[in-house]
């Protein structure tokens, strides 16, 4: 009898399944709700800004020499006679159907344009952030562990240069040296002229599409084109990520639980990576997510210098030619990315920090 009791005691107790599912469902619903509300607010603000801009959408379509009749017809077609709120609900309805209207510049649906330019930025930003994180985090950790040493000084200078060099200068110099003189990398554009539209566009990411197609030549060419602009963008996030990593690590390394780990007889490497680093993951995720979001917004200068057909240069061109549908569409997409990345990092918090549960 005593034996069975003991067995019962030792068995780990689990909560019933419903108790585990319900909180999860609740969190998911709450998250989706907050996405919806944030997105609605974002749409409303961009819509209002689009409407109060001193740009006449009718004139932009019909041109200045159109007759009054044509003007009035288009005015009615666009629904501009209706109250602003009603117009907003029409817009909302369209956006929910992924219809951002027609671009005034090329008369194509804005959604198609975005589906074309966004993958270009996504590809660039992703490789950039990987570069920045893979080099920036270890550099920051090392600078914190060897605070005041020559490694720390070098990390400081690297970051300072990253912060202070204008990208158009670095970009042009990079092109001059690595493309113009050394010929190590491809020039401006996503692929060389002979490889344009060679592989079918499935994801819009040329690196992925060429792999799916099994076309190594296109992959190599695309890689040699993306490596320079991606490293440049990566360098900027490296500067930020490494500085933040360093200060997060310094804070943790002076914590008492680090002394505990040393008292246990742990090696310094394990103290740093198994104990201190585990505690900066949450903060680091925020920094990386913000950095990634910034890159995904499209860095206009980089895209222009490298003739990269990304979302940054798309929105800028649209803005300069008063193509408000395109501007609104682009803004909504960028806003959506910020929201999604924020939610993603919130989810990761819960994975990495038991106190956030």
């Amino acid at each position: 009898m005593a034996l069975t009791e003991d067995n019962n005691q030792r068995r780990p107790t689990r909560a019933p399944l419903t108790d585990q599912v319900w909180p999860f469902l609740r969190t998911t619903l709450l998250t989706l709700g907050s996405i919806a509300v944030t997105l609605l607010g974002l749409l409303f603000i961009t819509f209002v800004i689009g409407r109060v801009m001193p740009i006449d959408p009718v004139l932009a379509i019909v041109g200045e020499r159109a007759s009054q009749e044509t003007y009035d017809t288009v005015y009615l077609q666009l629904g501009l006679d209706k109250p602003l709120m009603v117009q907003f609900f029409y817009y909302l309805w369209d956006v929910l159907h992924l219809d951002f209207g027609t671009s005034l510049l090329n008369a194509r649906p804005v959604s198609e344009d975005i589906a074309r330019v966004f993958p270009a930025t996504l590809e660039l930003a992703t490789i950039g952030i990987i570069f920045g994180v893979v080099l920036g985090v270890p550099l920051g950790v090392l600078a914190a562990v060897r605070k005041g040493s020559w490694i720390d000084q070098i990390a400081r200078v690297v970051a300072l240069v990253g912060y202070s060099m204008p990208i158009f200068w670095l970009g042009l110099m990079g092109l001059l040296v690595f493309y113009g003189i050394l010929g190590w990398v491809g020039g401006p554009g996503r692929v060389g002229i002979f490889y344009v539209d060679v592989v079918p566009s499935v994801t819009g990411l040329i690196l992925v599409d060429s792999l799916l197609d099994g076309n190594w030549d296109v992959f190599k060419d695309a890689f040699s084109h993306i490596i320079l602009p991606a490293s440049l963008l990566g360098y900027y996030s490296l500067a930020y990520v490494s500085r933040m990593t360093r200060s997060f690590m310094l804070e943790q390394l002076s914590a008492e639980y680090i002394t505990t780990a040393r008292v246990k007889g742990m090696s310094e490497w394990d103290v740093v990576w198994k104990h201190a680093f585990k505690n900066i993951r949450v903060q680091l995720i925020t920094v990386i997510a913000l950095s990634y979001a910034n890159l995904l917004e499209g860095s206009v200068l980089t895209e222009i210098i490298f003739s990269w057909p990304g979302i940054g240069s798309y929105i800028t061109t649209a803005l300069l030619s008063a193509d408000m549908n395109a501007v609104l569409g682009g803004t909504v997409v960028v806003g959506l990315i910020f929201i999604l990345l924020n939610i993603f990092s919130d989810l990761l918090y819960k994975v990495f920090d038991p106190r956030a549960k």
Binding site: K264, G265, M266, P354
Partner: protein, 286 residues
Amino acid sequence: MMSTLLDVQNLWVRFPTRNGVFDAVRGVSFTLGRERLGIVGESGSGKSMTGRAILRLIRPPGIVEADQISLEGQDLMKLSEKDMRAVRGQRISMVMQDPKFSLNPVMTIGDQIIEAYRLHNSASKADAYNKSLEMLEAVSIRDAERVMRAYPHEMSGGMGQRIMIAMMLIPNPEILIADEPTSALDVSVQRQVLDIMDKLVKERGMGLIFISHDLNLVADFCDRVLIMYSGRIVEVCDADKLHEAKHPYTRGLLNSLPRLDAPRDRLEVLERDPEWSEAPSVSGSE
């Protein structure tokens, strides 16, 4: 004469600052047998630094110097950092003040205890797990299985400190340094934690260095007491004779304590004599 576990001779801890070198510990000597040795003193007297210096945990730019810190005849000052790691945890361990800060907040308690054990014992995970459960039960933690899965923030202060004790004793060290182990705890659980620590230390025949600023606690709990002032030992006495201490600093500390059995309107204020910090350190060797 007890067998000597630890023999510290002429220990200095120095910190270079902009205004010259600051000496936190100035030529302290003492020995430790299988006994409970108290170190008392006010904040900044160098008592914690002494404890950490024994484990060679003073980080650069801090400097530790000593004629010897010998652990059963082996001079720790001469060990490489790698050999020193084998001493830490396995032969000398330390419990710190506040379990809220001394446990890693993002690791389960189980993982932290198992880690402490496996650093010095090549045991399988399952063995280490069972050993950790036993150890938690030894520090009177009920429902040890649940505690193993829990995180430090889910524990109370008293439980946290018992977990620390379990974690620090699991590799079976010969010496435990307890650095103000009960200062952060509620008075109601202080005694309980001390009793558990005392029981384990006695059972295992360990040496205990008990660092505290609480004179009454030390008088009750320890066998022998070193009184430190500005980095030096000013007096050494048996704990039960602490109230007969002669040094004016110790007397001053004792007189500035409120007592229930002898109420006074106004407690004495400690008058400091600059000579105290200049006088040579008293040896705490047996």
